[in-house]
Every structure is written in structure tokens, then in C-alpha cells.
């Protein structure tokens, strides 16, 4: 059986529905472990003081903000090429999650910036590109919401997601070029682990795993919701057509 059979809405629901609650609980547990560990059982960093604890929310949410967009891009491509409804709806389901992740990264970063850089906001490249990413999410979600016909909405948002991805990459480079910035480098890359001591790194890893799990379970749940909503709309449309035009 090919993987595409899961693109049938009914089959998708049947397969995922039993899993979703368990996944939710699992992600809650992993998140709880990571966050409690990070909040209560990590030391302070010498340069950051206790403010380093913000990292356990800041970095995972920043990662997920980008990964959610990547997932939407893949799902949009699948919809455009193979026209599987589930993938269009999954892209739609992922967007608000990605947007909240972006918002968390922005807010935690802004709050962190006040003690570290002495300002809430700086036009630093990474901050700026997150602001732009946030705008992309907003536009994408608003476009979905504004188009009444679901297929047209799926088509147009997919085109936007494709074009938007290209421009998101462009603006990342543009922003880097424009301002060299205050923000930390990517010191978390796997080959340079020595930058961050294990005391910070391990709980952070758990938090990241928790965020990934949370994202997956929320996307599955929301996709199911979207499918059910479409089913309601389809049944109502059929019922409406049954009524005579004129008595």
C-alpha cells in the first residue's frame, strides 16, 4: 500500500485519531521534564546570569518557527502536484502553530534583549528576519481565512507559500548584509558543542524534543479538525442543494 493512501481524508482520520491523545500526553510529559529541568535545576551562566533560563523557550520555539514553515512548504508542493486534500489542510493546520512559535521566539528574545543589549528591540538581522517571518505567517493565515472556496484557498496559499519561501531566503541574506548585528551566532550546531556546557545543552535538547512532539501532535489534531470541518461544509452544501429553488 502506497503512502499516498493516507492522503484520503477518511483513512487519515482513522489512522491518526487513536494516536493523537497519546502523542499529546507524551509531548506534555517531555516538555514538562525539559522545562522543569531547565527552570529549576540548571546553574546560572556567568555572562547571562539567571536570564539564561530564557533559552529553554527561546531556542526551541525559534527552531520550530522555521521548521513549521518548511513543513508547510512541502505540504503545499504536494497539494499543487498531487492535489491531496489532506496535505493542503495540514499546511493550513501548521500555520497558526508556526506563528505562535515565531511570536514566542520574538517575545522571549525581546525580553532577553532588555538586560543583555539594553534595548527591547534592535534591528538585528536575526530579529529582523523573525519579524519578517511573522509577517509571512500572518499573510498566509489571513489569505486562507479570506477565501471562501476551499480549493481556491488551497491553491492560492500554496502559490504564496512557494513564492514566499524564495523571498524569505532572500530577505535572510539581505538582512544579514544590511546589519551585522548583536545576536549570538549559531553556537548550537552539533560540531561545536563545546560552546555550551552540557548542563545547559541537555535540558535544552529535551525541550527541543518536547517542542517537536508538541508540534507534530498539534498538527495532526488540527488537520483532523480541518477535515471534519470540511466534511460538515460538504454535507451542508449537499443538504442545501436538496431544497427547491422556489416553492
Amino acid at each position: 500500500m502506497s503512502i499516498w493512501s493516507y492522503a484520503n481524508p477518511r483513512k487519515f482520520l482513522e489512522t491518526t485519531a487513536p494516536w493523537v491523545p497519546w502523542l499529546m500526553w507524551l509531548s506534555a510529559a517531555v516538555l514538562a521534564v525539559g522545562l522543569v529541568w531547565g527552570f529549576f535545576f540548571t546553574p546560572e551562566a556567568e555572562r547571562f546570569g539567571s536570564s539564561v533560563k530564557i533559552i529553554y523557550l527561546h531556542v526551541p520555539s525559534a527552531l520550530m518557527a522555521i521548521n513549521a514553515w518548511l513543513m508547510m512548504l512541502v505540504a503545499s508542493l504536494i497539494w499543487l502536484v498531487r492535489r491531496h486534500h489532506v496535505s493542503a489542510l495540514a499546511a493550513r493546520a501548521a500555520a497558526p502553530i508556526g506563528m505562535v512559535m515565531t511570536l514566542i521566539a520574538l517575545v522571549t528574545g525581546a525580553i532577553w534583549g532588555q538586560p543583555m543589549w539594553g534595548t527591547w528591540w534592535a534591528w538585528d538581522p536575526r530579529l529582523t528576519s523573525f519579524l519578517i517571518l511573522f509577517l509571512f505567517y500572518l499573510g498566509y493565515i489571513a489569505l486562507w481565512a479570506a477565501i471562501p472556496d476551499p480549493d481556491s484557498a488551497a491553491d492560492l496559499t500554496s502559490v504564496l507559500c512557494l513564492v514566499g519561501s524564495v523571498f524569505a531566503i532572500l530577505s535572510r541574506y539581505a538582512v544579514n548584509f544590511w546589519n551585522q548585528g548583536l545576536h549570538q551566532g549559531a553556537s548550537l550546531s552539533l560540531d561545536s558543542q563545546e560552546n555550551v556546557a552540557d548542563v545547559f545543552w541537555l535540558p535544552l535538547l529535551v525541550c527541543m524534543a518536547g517542542f517537536v512532539l508538541l508540534f507534530v501532535s498539534l498538527v495532526l489534531l488540527r488537520t483532523g479538525t480541518e477535515i471534519r470541518a470540511r466534511r460538515i461544509a460538504a454535507m451542508r452544501a449537499r443538504a442545501r442543494r436538496a431544497e427547491p429553488v422556489r416553492a
Partner: protein
């Protein structure tokens, strides 16, 4: 309660806002799912 030093306000507000956002997202997702499920059941009964 543990001592967060001079950054207490920042850390707590950052965590508070973030957890509130996460919680809100989860709550909204689940609430909407419940609503749609109930609606679907009703629709299936009416127009089934």
C-alpha cells in the same frame, strides 16, 4: 521559590508569556476540535 537574581522579572515574564501563548494555542486547538466534532455529529444525524 528559587532566587533568580537581578533578572527575575525578565525570566518570569518571558516564561509566563511563553507558557501562556503555548497554553492558549493548545487550549484553542482542543476547544475548536471539540466544537467541530460535536458539530459534525449533529450534522451527520441531521443530514446523514
Amino acid at each position: 521559590m528559587m532566587d533568580l537574581g537581578k533578572y527575575a522579572a525578565e525570566v518570569i515574564s518571558a516564561w509566563g508569556i511563553s507558557l501562556a501563548l503555548l497554553g492558549g494555542l493548545v487550549w484553542w486547538t482542543i476547544a475548536r476540535d471539540r466544537k467541530v466534532r460535536a458539530e459534525l455529529e449533529r450534522t451527520e444525524r441531521d443530514h446523514g
